[in-house]
C-alpha cells in the first residue's frame, strides 16, 4: 500500500509539473504584457524599465524556475494588473464557481434520473421520444449558444430572470441570478445522464433477477425503484462523479456569458489582459485541486479494493 501511495503521489507531481510547464510556455509565447500595461505615451526606456521591474526581461527558464520555487511554498506571485497575490485572487472566486457548479450538478441529477427512468419504462412512446429528443438537443447545443438563448428568452422576451452577475447579497436575488447559469451549465450533463440512466435501466430491466421479481408479483413501481434502478445507477454514479470536475471546467464559458464572478471568468480575464502570473497561477491552482481530488479518489479505491493497488 505504501508503494502504491508513493507511486500515485509521484504521478500527481509529474502531472502538476507538466501542467505548469505547458501553461507557462503557452503564456510566455502569447505576447508581451508590458505593452498593454504601459501608458500609450510611455517611452521605450520606460517600457524597458517596467519590464525589468516585473522581472519579465529574464529568460523563460529562469522565470519558470522562479515560479516553481514560489509555487511549492504557496506563493504564486502577484497579479500584474491587480497587484494582489494570485492565490488570494483565486481563492476569492472559488465560492462563486463552486456554487454554480454545485447548482448545475443538482439540477442535472434531479432532472436526469426521472427523465431517464420515464424514458426507459415507457420505451418507444411519445414520452421516450420527446425526452431523448431533448437530451440529444441538450448534448448538441454549445454552452455559449444555450446561455445566450436562455438570456434572450427568459431575460429579454419574458423579462422573468436577470441575465448577468451574481445579484445582491439577499437570498432571493442570489437564487434568481443563479437559475439561468445553472441551467446552462447543467444541461449538457443532464442530457448525458438521462441517456445513461435510460440505457442502463433498460439493460437491467432485461436481467433475470428483475424477471424473477416480476414473477413474484411485486408491483412494477417497486421492481423499478427497489431493484432495477439501484443497480442501474451504479455506472451513472461513477460518471456523475467525473462530471463534477467537468462542470468546474465548463464554468469558464458559462461564467463569461453570465458575468458570473468565478474562477473561469478570472482566468479568461487574465488571458485577455496577458496577466501572466495570474493565468499561470490560476490554472495551476485549479489543476492542483483536480489532481488532489483524483489522488484522494485513487487512494480510496486502493484502500477499498486490493486489486487496484496490486495492479
Amino acid at each position: 500500500m505504501t508503494q502504491y501511495i508513493i507511486r500515485r503521489i509521484l504521478q500527481a507531481f509529474l502531472v502538476m509539473l507538466g501542467v505548469t510547464f505547458l501553461v507557462f510556455i503557452v503564456m510566455f509565447q502569447a505576447g508581451d504584457p508590458v505593452i498593454l500595461m504601459a501608458s500609450p505615451d510611455a517611452s521605450a526606456e520606460e517600457i524597458e524599465n517596467l519590464r525589468r521591474n516585473l522581472g519579465l526581461d529574464r529568460p523563460w527558464y529562469i522565470q519558470y524556475a522562479d515560479f516553481l520555487g514560489g509555487a511549492v511554498q504557496g506563493d504564486f506571485g502577484n497579479s500584474l494588473r491587480q497587484g494582489q497575490p494570485v492565490f488570494n485572487l483565486v481563492m476569492e472566486r472559488i465560492p462563486a464557481t463552486l456554487q454554480l457548479a454545485a447548482s448545475a450538478f443538482v439540477f442535472s441529477v434531479v432532472i436526469s434520473i426521472p427523465v431517464g427512468v420515464i424514458s426507459a419504462t415507457r420505451r418507444n412512446t411519445i414520452y421516450d421520444n420527446l425526452a431523448m429528443g431533448f437530451a440529444l438537443l441538450g448534448q448538441s447545443l454549445p454552452v455559449f449558444f444555450l446561455g445566450v438563448m436562455l438570456i434572450w428568452i427568459f431575460g429579454f422576451v419574458f423579462g422573468w430572470l436577470p441575465s448577468a452577475g451574481r445579484g445582491d447579497p439577499d437570498f432571493v436575488s442570489r437564487m434568481r441570478h443563479l437559475i439561468l447559469p445553472a441551467i446552462t451549465l447543467g444541461t449538457f450533463s443532464l442530457a448525458q445522464n438521462a441517456r445513461l440512466v435510460r440505457s442502463s435501466l433498460l439493460e437491467v430491466l432485461g436481467l433475470d433477477y428483475v424477471k424473477t421479481a416480476r414473477a413474484k408479483g411485486i408491483s412494477e413501481y417497486h421492481v423499478i425503484m427497489r431493484h432495477a434502478l439501484r443497480n442501474a445507477l451504479i455506472p451513472v454514479v461513477t460518471v456523475i462523479g467525473i462530471q463534477f470536475g467537468a462542470l468546474l471546467g465548463g464554468a469558464v464559458i458559462t461564467e463569461t456569458v453570465f458575468a458570473w464572478p468565478g474562477i473561469g471568468r478570472l482566468l479568461i480575464q487574465a488571458i485577455n489582459q496577458q496577466d501572466f502570473p495570474l493565468a499561470v497561477g490560476a490554472v495551476t491552482i485549479i489543476a492542483l485541486i483536480f489532481v488532489v481530488l483524483n489522488l484522494i479518489v485513487d487512494l480510496t479505491y486502493g484502500f477499498l479494493d486490493p486489486r487496484v493497488r496490486y495492479s
Binding site: 502569447a30 505576447g31 501608458s39 445566450v148
Partner: protein, 588 residues
Amino acid sequence: MENRRSVDALMNDVMRGGLSRRDLLKRAAVLGITGPTLAALIAACEDDDTDDSADDAVVDTDDDDEPAAEPDTDDEDPMETDDEEDDAEMEEEDDAEVEEDDDADDAPTESEGRLVLLQGVDSNTLDPLVRNSVPESVVNRHVFDMMTWRNPDTLEIEPLVVEDWTIVDDNTWEFKLVEGGQFHDGSPVNSAAAVHTVERSIQDTIGDSGRVHQFGPQNNVESAEEVDEYTFRINTTAPAPIMLDLMATFELCPIDPYPMDEENVDQPVGSGKYTFVEWVRDDHITLEANPDHWDGPPPIQEIVIRPVPEDSSRVIALQNEEAHIIVNVPPELVPQVEEADNARISDVEGGRSIFVGIRNDIEPFGDVRVRQALNYALDFDSISAALLEGFGEKMRTIVNPPNDHPDLEAYPFDPERARSLLEEAGVEEGTRVVMNAPRGRYIKDDEIAEVVAQQFRDVGFDIDLQILDWSLYAGELLPSGEPDALYFLGLGSPFDGQSEINYVNPDYSLNYTRWENEEYVELFATLRETLDPDERQDLMYRLQEIIQEECPWVFVWKQYDFYGAAANLEWEARADEAIVMTHARFTD
C-alpha cells in the same frame, strides 16, 4: 441643529471677512441657502450703514468687488496675457456663480435612490496613480475629487477641488484648493495632501506595481511645494502647457492611506462626492453618497458598478431595469434600446481617433499623392450606413474639440481623384500592400477594416488584409515596431490638442508611420513650450493643416460612444469617456 451651526459658522466667517464671494456662494449652496436669503441673513448681521454693500456683494457680478487676493496685473509682468486670461476666467466664473446660485434651489440636501452602472470589465486597481483604464477612472472620479474638471459641453477645463490657478513663471504653476474640504478618513483637504499626491506620482514605481505614469517626468513635473494651507505649487523642468488638462484626470489623495512606496489597490479614500463601501471583485463596487462633501451631497444615494462583459447581457439588464447606465451598446442593438419605453440611448462623438496608419518608409507611400489617394478612396458614409446604423462621420482633423481647426474639412470620397493621383504618382494597378487590423478592440474594428480594404482595392491596390486578435496585435505586432505598410489603429482620448498632434510625432511610441516633416517638428517643439493660449491655438491650427495636407494617416472616424440609460434618469454621455454620475438624478 447641525445645519443651524453651519449657517452660524458661515455668517461668522462672512462677518470676519476674508471669505471670497465664490467660497461664500459655494458654502451657501451646500447649506441650501439661496442668494436673496443669504443677502437677507448678511443684512441682518450687519450694521445699517453697510446693508447696501452687503447686497451688492451677493448679487453684483462686477469684478471690481473681487477680493484683492487676485494675481498682480502689473503691465511689466511677463505673464500679462495669463493674467488677462485669469480676469476673463473670473468673469466666466462669476457668471457661473450666478447660475449656481439660481440652481441652488435644486441642489439636493440629501441623496436618495440607487443607480446601477454596468461596465464591460472590472477594475484591476483603484490606486489613482497605478490605474490604467477607463473603468477604473470611472470609479475613482466619484470617490476622489479630480483636481480640475472638463466641462462636458465645452470640454474646457474648469475649477473643481483646485478652484484657482496662476502661472507664476515658465516652470511654476500655483494652485489654490477649496477651503473646508475633507477626505473620507477625516483628514483635511489641504496643500500638504496635494503636495504628497504630486510627489507620489513622480516616482518611478510604487511598491511592486508596474508603475504607469500619469503625472510624472514625461510631463516635465519635477516637484511640488506648499505655499500656505490651501495653496501649493508645482515646479516643472520645462514649460508644461497642458498642466491643467493633466489635472483634470488627476485625483487628489490623502496622505496616510497612500504611502509613497505602497500601492493601495482596493481601499480607495478620497474627498469625492461618494465614499467607497466595498469591492467584490468581478461582481460589484458599491459607493455611497458623501453628505459632507464641500460642494454638497450628490442627488443619488448609492451607486453600484458591475462588470458585465457581454454586450447583449448589458442591454437586457437595462431593459429589465436591473441597470440604469450601460456602456458600449453595439450599434446593431441601438434601435432595440431606442424602441424600449424604459430606456434610451445617449450617444456622443468620442475623442478616440480611428485611423489607418501609413508607413511612409514603404513604397509607394513615401509619396504624399499616394497617401492622399487613400484618403480620397475612403467612403465613410457607406461604412456608417452598413455597420454603424448611420452614426459617425469621416474624421475632419486628428485634434478633438475644443482645439480642432474649425475650417478643415474631411477628405471627400472621390475615387476618380484617388485613381488620378495614383496614376500621377506612377503606382501600378494591382500593387500589393499588406494591411494589418485588430479584432476586438474598437467598435466593429475588423469589419470596418474589411470595408476599408475593399475600398482601397477599388482604386487599384491589391490589399492583403491580415486581422489579428487584439492581444496579439497589441502584444506582438505593435511592440515589434514593424507593422506592415498599412495598419488600423485607434488612439485617444485627450482633449488638449497637443496630445492629439503628438500622435504623428516621430518620437511618439505608438507612431509607426515614419512620417517626417521639418515644419511639423519645428512647430510642435515650439507648441510644447508655449504657454500663451492664443499662440498655442495658432500653432495647433497650422499643425493640423500640415497633418491634413501630408496625411500620414487615412483619417477614418472619431469613434462614437453609445451608452444606454434608463428613461427616468437625467444623465448624458460625455465625449471624454468619463461617466460622471455625481449630478445624475432620477426624475421619478
